[in-house]
Symmetry: C2
Subunit: 227 residues, 2 copies
DNA sequence: ATCCTTATGATAGTATTGCTATTATATTCG
DNA sequence: CGAATATAATAGCAATACTATCATAAGGAT
């Protein structure tokens, strides 16, 4: 699929930014280096001042693109989920069998991220680490309901619903398809986090992947057994 | 069990506080009102200055108990998990059958929290909301590995392992018992959060509880079916 | 060529945060 | 009564998360 994405761009809710960072060179550098910096020092330590210093630009210029670092985080993670959605849709299109569609989807959503050459200024590996370590902070806030209303999380929500639809396609009788979908997507981030920081709280390691775990889980949960 | 806990106290790693808040009146007020304030305004907006104002005490006095609000959050959430562990252990002791033990445990860990009269200065309902909305922030930091080494998360880890042991007792052949345990405990918080803020991403609502979902899940995953 | 717009940069300023340090006062215990 | 301990009051400080203003530079339209 290397070239299928060449002319695609991830569409992000315009309310999230002040000025589209994809529209200028500085904007792209803001994205590129914010990924690097947040990944290196963590979201708490990251500031626009430090980012400005890093890219040889001015703090005030960055504020012309994003109103706050919180919005920037939402932008970056939205981009990530939008990118995931592309991968998912592209790989699933040719697949007919609902079971294979589902296992393919779970695999894509839970596996370790590899670089995508189609987006030069975005380091998807670093970005995926940011999503694992910081995504929850984007919605664990007092403003979540307003921001949800404003559509800040719509890409993520669409993704959860896509996976849910695939679960239903395999087992229409299963009554918790939406919760299972959100559990897999969020739980995958959590298992990756545990693998990196709390090895005693997960079975995942260099041999066993979160994908193995979730594929087994979904098999068990969606299969209806005879007696 | 109303009175079994009367003389118990939740033991918390001494490194987490400077001075034991249970040892003084001011300390208890710090706990009581920090739960209220964090619940009301969220962890980001919460400061020791505001807490001091609220309890008619001084910011500097609060710093004699906790080095930072981050440590206070770890204290509060550790208390919560320790309290959960008591509930769990007490309810499980008289139960023999491994399957019933497991379903009892999952029920306790996933159900909505009700007030516990044994701890007068702690509002468990408010505290559980804090755990749902803020717990992840206590470990999604750059300092997590050091703090983990220092035992800041030991109660939580012990709880995950207890549940894992009960899963193994029901199905020793299941290869992902630890991941399943952490998925249930963390996933429960997430489902409660979604129920409150992203109703489209969960099946849980006023009729269907996270407990229903997770009991069904664990039944499916741990049962070995014949043909 | 010049005007106008747009993008960026430089500088300054502000309220708040997350502390630390010092000194004063009040209480309690031997 | 004196000493220790707990709390309160005040000040101060560097950093954060911005906002506002003004300067400059580049490119496009007339």
């Amino acid at each position: 699929m290397e070239n299928l994405l060449k002319n695609l761009r991830v569409e992000i809710n315009e309310k999230i930014y002040i000025k589209d960072p994809e529209s200028t060179d500085l904007g792209k550098r803001i994205i590129q280096y914010s990924i690097q910096l947040i990944n290196d020092m963590g979201f708490e330590q990251f500031t626009f001042r430090k980012l400005g210093r890093e890219i040889g630009s001015n703090e005030s210029s960055i504020y012309r693109y994003f109103e706050s670092k919180h919005k920037l985080l939402i932008y970056l993670t939205s981009w990530y989920w939008g990118w995931m959605e592309y991968q998912l849709v592209l790989k699933i299109i040719p697949v007919q069998d609902p079971k294979v569609r589902l296992t393919t989807a779970v695999t894509i959503l839970t596996q370790e991220i590899v670089q995508d050459v189609n987006f030069e200024h975005i380091d998807e590996v670093a970005l995926s680490r940011i999503v694992i370590e910081e995504y929850a902070k984007s919605f664990l806030t007092k403003e979540v309901d307003q921001e949800n209303k404003d559509g800040y999380f719509s890409i993520y929500k669409r993704l959860v619903k896509r996976l849910q639809a695939m679960i239903v396609a395999v087992n229409p009788a299963y009554p918790y398809s939406t919760s299972l979908s959100s559990t897999i997507i969020e739980g995958s981030l959590h298992q990756h986090f545990l693998k990196n920081h709390f090895t005693a709280l997960t079975d995942c390691n260099d041999e066993v992947s979160p994908t193995d775990y979730f594929l087994h889980l979904i098999e068990k949960v969606t299969t209806t057994h005879g007696r």
